[in-house]
Each structure stands twice: as C-alpha cells, then as structure tokens.
C-alpha cells in the first residue's frame, strides 16, 4: 500500500505525483525517441500515424473531455489544418512555420464556428457539429481552387535548412528522412501534451472543468461562459489542425475522402475507448485504433489458415469490430481503458484494503437537459 503524504501545496498542483511517475514518463519519452533505431520502416510509419492520431485525439479530448462539448465533426477541422498546410507551403511559407499557422487557421475557424454553436447545449451542439462533419466533404469539393476538388492534391516533402522531413525513408547515407518526420511528430506531440497538462492546472483549465460540470454554477462563480467556450473550441481546433497539417505531410497525397464523417466518428471512438477526460486516454485510444487493423489482419489470416480457405475479406469488418468494442466499453467500462488501468492500479496499491464499492457508478435518474 502506497500513500502520498503531502508536505507542501506545490505537491498538489505539480504535473506529476512523485518522482517514480516522473521517471516512468521520462523513460517513455526516451524509448519513443530511440524508437526509429529499434523499429523497421513499416512499424515506424505506423507509430508516426499513431502519434498524429493521438494529437488529433488530444484536440477532441480537450473539447469533449474537459470542456464538456461533444463534437461529432472534428474531421472538418483536421481537413482545415491539412488544406491550409498545403496552401501555405505553396505560398512558400517555411514548412515548420506553416504547421502552427495551419493550426491557428483551424483554431480561428473553429472559434468562429463556436460563436453560433455556443448557444447550443448538449445534444444540439452534437448535431450541429455532426452536420459540419457531413458537409465537410461537399465544402472541400466546392472550394476547388484551394483544395484541388475531387482529384485532391499532392503535398511535397517539407524541408528546413536542407533537413528533409519525408516519412518515406529513402536510404540516404547520412540520416534517413523517415526518422526526421517521426521525430518532428514526437516533438510536436510532446510540446502539445506538456501544454495540455499545464493548461489543465491553470485557471483556464479549471474554468473549463467547471463549465463541463455545471454551466450554471460556473456562471455563478463568475466564469465568462461564452468566452471560455469559444476559447475551448478554438484551442481544441488548433490542436486538431496541427494534427491535420502533420497528417497532410504524412499521407502526402489526399483528397476529400480523407476527411469524411467516418474520420470524425473514429476520433470520437478513440477518446471514448481510451478514456474520456484523461490525457492518457488519447494516447491509449490512438494506440488501440492504430493496432486494430493489424490485429484484424492477423486474426483473419489465422482463421483462413485454420479453415484452409484462401482469401476471406469482409468489407467493413474494421468498423464493426470498433463499434462492438465501443459498445462493450460504454456499457461495462465508460471510463475506457485508462479508467480500467487506474482501477487495477488502485486495487494493487491498496492491496488488502481495496473495497469493491470504491469505483461504483452512482445510479441516478435522468437529469434533464431539456429546456422547459
């Protein structure tokens, strides 16, 4: 059994609990940093993809998990970042500078969208964002001069001072560029995560949580609801836009299909399976979502071998498995994989003293959100 004996107020608000936890995170970061030397090209690509998804997940997590606003159309902001990145690079803005600028563009777009959306609560906001996600494809096709319309566009490799950031590691003698892009993603994700952690323990972050838990009591405490909601929406879209810019470089060539409604829904699945309202959740969800197709392929091949039959592809099986996973989690473990992890950890830490009721979900009647 471990008990955190607090000796100063600083202990309460510092981003890590104790030196052990800090050690684990530093270790994780070191492992992530040397990963290019341990993994082959394909797995490194997958890892980069997972990092980008985690970043997009962090964006949605900030909105859904901490501001309490559900967005079913975050794919639209991902697209915002990706297309802005293309246009900025075409206008010969330096590649590195273009990434935060595209994020900023997505953020401002998001904040502008939030202004009317602010008047909506709960379900109406979900529907408005769902509509945004649904029309994103049509909008992309309509804005052809900037987006390449149906044909899509091709984004060339970015480079800064002759350091190329190409995800495809053509074996150039010095350093393989695939690593560079991975490290760039890692750097961005680390910065955003640190920023996120610090945001949560700032007054702004607490205001977000207050609004999430009860808008009326937050207003009574003197929190400017509209302002903070707009800020939350903008920040969330900023992070998602940065992820979109990185994604654009990652996939290279893309068109409107890369940002359909399914992407938005997948982002939502990501944060729900990972554990809503936690930073870990975004990473765990991205990891699961990234590994899932590989596992499905492996299982399919195994079954095919077992039955001795040849190719057995079932269209849409990925989504179905994800959906089933999601149903299982929502019903049995609404706090996601991270929630389960915390429960197991707490049980171990408290070992002989853990009580079954410790994490009991409180039963309640419907709290109405309806205006009446």
């Amino acid at each position: 059994m471990r008990y955190h004996f607090r000796t100063s107020y600083a202990q309460e608000i510092r981003p890590y609990q104790d030196w052990r936890q800090l050690l684990w995170y530093v270790l994780l970061l070191v492992v992530a940093a040397v990963a290019p030397f341990l993994l082959d090209e394909y797995l490194l690509g997958e890892l980069t993809h997972i990092l980008i998804w985690a970043l997009a997940g962090l964006g949605l997590m900030l909105l859904a998990g901490h501001c309490g606003m559900v967005s079913l159309g975050h794919g639209a902001f991902l697209a915002c970042g990706a297309y802005m990145q293309y246009n900025l690079v075409n206008m010969s803005v330096p590649f590195i500078l273009a990434i935060p600028l595209s994020g900023l563009f997505a953020g401002i777009t998001g904040a502008l969208f939030a202004v009317p959306a602010l008047r909506l609560t709960g379900i109406y906001l979900a529907i408005a964002t769902l509509a945004l996600g649904a029309i994103a494809e049509d909008l992309i096709i309509m804005l052809e001069p900037w987006t390449g319309g149906v044909e899509g566009l091709y984004l060339e490799t970015g480079s800064v001072y002759a350091i190329e950031f190409d995800r495809y590691a053509q074996q150039i003698a010095s350093a393989s560029p695939g690593h560079n892009f991975y490290w760039l993603c890692l750097l961005v994700v680390t910065c955003v995560t640190l920023g996120y952690i610090n945001l949560l323990r700032s007054a702004t972050g607490r205001a977000f949580s207050a609004i999430r838990d009860s808008e009326i009591s937050a207003a009574a405490m003197g929190i400017h609801i509209a302002g903070y909601k707009t800020l939350g929406f903008g920040l969330s879209c900023f992070v998602t836009g940065v992820a979109g810019a990185l994604l654009a470089h990652f996939v290279g060539a893309f068109n409107y299909e890369a940002f359909n409604l399914l992407i938005s829904i997948q982002l939502l699945l990501l944060i729900t399976i990972g554990g809503i309202g936690t930073i870990h959740g975004a990473f765990i969800g991205a990891l699961l979502l990234g590994i899932m197709p590989l596992v499905i392929v492996a299982v399919r091949e195994f079954i095919a071998q077992l039955l001795g039959s040849g190719n057995m592809t079932i269209p849409g099986i990925d989504q179905a498995v994800l959906a089933l996973l999601l149903i299982t989690f929502i019903i049995f473990e609404p706090s996601g994989v991270h929630g389960r992890f915390v429960k197991v950890k707490t049980w171990l830490q408290l070992f002989p003293l853990a009580r079954r009721q410790l994490f009991r979900r409180s039963r309640s009647y419907l709290k109405t959100d309806r205006l009446r």
Binding site: L268, G316, I327, I330, L366, R370
Partner: protein, 291 residues
C-alpha cells in the same frame, strides 16, 4: 422544369425525412436520448422488407411482407433498447450518443453481410405508374408516400391522445421520476417507444426504397433527418414532420436553381441558421432550464 413539379417531388422526399425525424423526436421526447442509429434502423427495415417482398427473395405479397418487416423491426428495436440502451439510464447523454452511433455501425455491417453493398430497389405494386395533371406528373409512389405519412402521423397523434400507453408516454416525457412515482413502468415504456420508433423507421425505409434504391450506407440519410428534426424543434412531433418537409422541398429547389454542390449543403445551412436564430427549433416552447 416546373417549380410545382419540384415541389411535389420534394414533398414526397420530405415525408421520408419527416418520418425519420419523427422517430428521433419520439425517442427524444420520451427518454431524452438521441438515437443516432435511426437512419440505420430505417435501412435495416427496408432491407428486411426487400428480401421478403422481392421476387428473388421470399416473394410474399407486398402488404404481408411489409407487416412482417414492421413487426420484426419493432421487436428488434425493443430488444435493442432492453439490452443496450437501458443500461445507460441516468448516464450522461454523451454515452447514449456514442452507443447509438456504434449500434448504427453494427447494423450497417450486418446489413452489408446479409444483403451485400450494391444498391437494390424494392419491387412495389405502385412503381412506374403516374397521374398527370396538366404539366405536373404525380407518381403513384409519391402519392403513396404522402398519404402513408399523413395516416401515420394522424395515427400517432390519436395514439398519444387517446390510449393509455400514449398518455403514459406523455407523462414520461414530461417528468420521468414523477411518472415512476405514479406507477408508470418507465423502463418498459421506453422500450415501447423504441419499438414505435422502429416501426416509423421501417415505414420510412419502405417508402424510401420504393422511391429509389437502398444500400447499407443509406443509413447516413439519418443525418439529413437530424437537420429536419432540429429545424422543426427537437421536442415537437408536428415540428419534425414540417422540418422534414422543409428539407425535402429545399433540396430539389436548390439543386435546380443554385450552383452544383449547394443542394447538399442547403439543409444543413438552414439547420445552422435555425440553431442560431432559434436554438430550440421553430415549433417548440422555450423556457428556462432548471438547475
């Protein structure tokens, strides 16, 4: 093309949206959950009818096939509510949203497994025939859609006003806890509401498949029905129908008069406009939220 002709076609389309929206509103009113799988339920019901009625399916008479499909879909929706949704009673609304989205995905997957992904169309006794009034051609399918919708809405209205179950549902939608106190079986009632909404979804699906083709991705039509429900006011039954009609009429008009691309966006643009101007929709009474 004659604007009046566009209007008639739009009205028939709008009835389908309206029926779907009606399903959302029924569930929302009674349980305050939003069923994002409504479109997929529609698709599923339509496919069931299709395999019962079509010649290469069981080739049953049209009426019999539709009735069986409706009954099956009602049972399916009842069971869905009982096994999945009921467990989330009192949980945040967000969980139900995510759960129903996931259920929709599963339904779509199952439909794809059983019926394949090619668009199919329903063989109906009234396909291909039309009445002509001057320059306006009224397809039998359009007439059937409009008549069935009106009958169904009228029937629902009577159901809510005159039957015990309907009254109990009204009570539930006004105050669940109080309804529970006066002895209304709230849980069973919400299952029944789901069954009713499954029925309207199936009818919408049959009408939709009779007018065009249907494939597993048709469930995404539900999003347009959402727009309809929001335009009309999410808590209002007549509002849902009228919202559906608005969406249905605007679409072909925008397609005809506006540049390409705008017709897909038009329903959502109207929805966003309504949300900005009058967030609770055109037809609903607004008051303060209680803490």
């Amino acid at each position: 093309m004659d604007p009046l002709q566009l209007l008639v076609g739009g009205l028939a389309n709008g009835c389908v949206y309206g029926l779907l929206a009606l399903g959302f509103v029924l569930i929302y009113k009674a349980t305050e959950a939003v069923n994002f799988a409504q479109g997929d339920m529609m698709m599923f019901g339509a496919f069931m009818t299709l395999s019962l009625v079509n010649q290469d399916g069981y080739n049953l008479p049209f009426g019999v096939g539709v009735c069986i499909a409706i009954a099956a879909m009602a049972v399916l929706s009842y069971v869905l509510e009982m096994t999945f949704i009921r467990r989330l009673f009192g949980q945040p609304q967000f969980s139900v949203v995510v759960l129903t989205i996931a259920l929709g995905f599963v339904l779509r997957f199952i439909a794809g497994l059983i019926w394949g992904h090619e668009p199919q169309s329903l063989e109906t006794p009234f396909a291909g025939r039309a009445l002509t009034f001057g320059s306006i051609v009224l397809g039998y399918d359009d007439i059937v859609v409009i008549v069935v919708t009106l009958l169904l809405v009228g029937g629902l209205y009577l159901f809510f006003i005159y039957t015990r179950v309907g009254l109990a549902m009204q009570a539930c939608s006004q105050n669940q806890l109080a309804a529970y106190y006066v002895g209304i079986p709230v849980k069973r009632l919400s299952s029944i509401v789901w069954a009713v909404s499954g029925v309207t979804a199936t009818i919408a699906g049959v009408l939709f498949a009779a007018k065009g083709t249907i494939d597993p991705a048709s469930g995404l039509l539900g999003i347009k029905a959402f727009a309809a429900a929001v335009i009309g006011g999410f808590g209002s039954l007549p509002g849902a129908l009228i919202g559906g009609l608005i969406v249905g009429v605007v679409e072909p008009l925008a397609q005809f008069y506006a540049p390409t691309g705008y017709s897909q966006i038009a329903p959502y643009a109207i929805m966003l406009l309504v949300l900005v101007v009058r967030p609770a929709g055109i037809f609903s009474q607004v008051a303060q939220k209680k803490v």
